[in-house]
Symmetry: C2
Subunit: 358 residues, 2 copies
């Protein structure tokens, strides 16, 4: 088992990465403020992993309440969040009852936001069951829901007490979801870790074949990279913005097609290719660099061509992105593979040309 | 003008108390991260105070967007909160746009919660226009909305950058609202400040006549008392619970009658009499103490008799209060006038008897 400590100003917490952690969740027990947990999961994950977790708690004298929500990004909205509040209130969950998110990014974001706001804040533990959630939403404390006018528009920064990453859960994950997780893993290499990017180029097929050791290494490297960035900038004032490589375009793709049509990781992959293309046209990276980036995403089983939403739709959706400042659009661009930076200097015409034929 | 500094661990902010502060809101200007504010108010306050505030900003080159919501506790819910999100998104408010709450406690709680969660947190300024908001919700950073199953069940601790208390706004406040504010003011005397309680006994008629100097003194003493408590205990782990004197009963009254039927301050007054009656029956305070407490609330124009909801309804509503811990009900009781404490030892039979004939 590997442990990564995410040390934030406001609070520090550990991420445990290993196999068999759900059925033997001993690491969770010392953190419970009272022997009562509310587990939020979804209808896909529940039949696979809810029972062993509940059995573990029951055996250890911890009372459980469970709620299985419908799966998918389309449910990351207020009405689903309200189902969680109803569930917590109906079961008289208290300020010291711990909320546990058992599932992917949607369950993590919903449950984390519920924990941040139920009774103005209750303890929260994450058990991410998708590769994407294990390498992304488990670090950094971003929680929230979507709004018809934009993704993740409503939320809070709220840190879990602990993250339990059981790599066994990856065995049952659909191929598409493995690929979506790889999109974010590749991103860490691209923005700040050239040696990791090179390692990924060499091991991408092994990862798609779910080699346990390769996946565990990729997860811990990703969490370590994200933790370093987040520790330097918890509230997204500066360097943390680099984590959004491909996300301004990606969010527009997700919103434009309707949330849930493409997986988040798929949208980020196509969005990253757009950001890399901007970097090429601004003469920051070379044709060869762009080819390497397309190649690894393709080998990861991800789309490298963004859908044609029409440039006006793209620009409109990107204009309402959270990273807009003073009316100016900010982009994360690449100087090199392994080095990203923030730019507000992308010429409008370049964008218009790119998005007219993405 | 008086200034009280509320120094919390996470952030420190000033409360300015004086007259004419809305039309000359210079104190706000240095705090704006960009020259753009979104002002949330209600339909009662808007015709009185919105224009001078907007004029002030316009004169100083600050762009304003304004939203006037319907008045009243019944609107402190998700659907009204969502109107704020729609308004902010439609007007492309950004992470550095400051949200300003211009109104009473409902507007402050809604706007504060919107500020805490819009784009995961934007700057927030309070301009409280009711006596209750000036002495209560302006200190402590509690924000949130009601849920059909309980008051303030969903929310966040979120501190404003600044509170601007313009005592001129009290001139237009209905008598009922002045009394509701006095309920909380009296509470500070009861829980921790005997000299202030004695001063209030002597000046209660002056306060009801809206004597400007008396009101300014009562507001600053109240804010000072609350700030001291909150500074000692920002997240409500211990001593802050004392501020809830009368609130466990009071919330049950508000929920039982339907939010908005009684003003919060009215419910707190009747709830405090219930808490004082419990204190008497547990032989903590004397008959004379209870008589003094009833007397001052009565002179403040407040109800001293709680409505008869039926004991079962009371107990059910109180059981879902946020202050429940380990299934046990906790009460704030009085040892003396000027000294409150937390107790989980109130005999069930005493409660049943009291609430059968409140």
């Amino acid at each position: 088992m590997q442990t990564i400590q995410v040390g934030l100003n406001s609070r520090s917490y550990p991420i445990y990465i290993g196999n068999g952690l759900i059925a033997n969740a001993d690491l969770v027990l010392p953190l419970l403020a009272q022997p009562h947990v509310a587990i939020i999961t979804n209808e896909i994950v529940a039949p696979l992993y809810l029972d062993p977790l509940v059995r573990f708690f029951t055996k250890n004298g911890v009372r459980t309440h469970t709620l299985a929500l419908p799966d998918g990004e389309a449910n990351k909205d207020w009405s689903t969040l309200n189902r969680i509040f109803d569930f917590l209130l109906t079961n008289r969950c208290e300020r010291k009852t711990t909320l546990i998110a058992l599932g992917g990014g949607v369950i993590g974001d919903l449950t984390g936001f519920a924990a941040a706001t139920y009774l103005r804040g209750v303890p929260f533990i994450q058990i991410p069951t998708t590769l994407l959630a294990q390498v992304d939403s488990s670090v950094g404390g971003k929680t929230g829901i979507n709004h018809p006018l934009g993704k993740n528009m409503i939320g809070a920064f709220y840190q879990p007490k602990l993250v339990l990453t059981d790599t066994d859960t990856l065995r049952t994950l659909p191929d598409k979801e493995i690929s979506a997780g790889l999109a974010e893993i590749i991103k860490y290499g691209l923005i700040r870790d050239l040696p990791f990017f090179v390692w990924l180029e060499e091991n991408i097929s092994l990862l798609r074949q779910r080699d346990a050791a390769a996946l565990a290494y990729a997860i811990s490297q990703s969490c370590q990279n994200k933790a370093e960035v987040v520790m330097a900038d918890e509230r997204e004032g500066g360097v943390r913005a680099l984590l959004n490589l491909g996300h301004t375009f990606g969010h527009a793709i997700e919103a434009g097609l309707g949330f849930g049509t493409w997986l988040h990781g798929e949208a980020v992959a196509a969005g990253t290719i757009l950001a890399a293309t901007v970097s090429l046209r601004m003469k920051l990276i070379s044709e060869q660099d762009l080819a390497r980036i397309k190649d690894i995403y393709q080998k990861a089983g991800l789309p490298i061509k963004a859908p044609n939403l029409g440039k006006d739709k793209y620009l409109e959706l990107m204009g309402s992105d959270k990273k807009v400042e003073g009316g100016k659009m900010r982009f994360i661009l690449l100087k090199n593979i392994g080095a990203a930076f923030v730019s507000s200097e992308v010429p409008q015409q370049l964008l218009v040309d790119l998005l007219s034929a993405p």
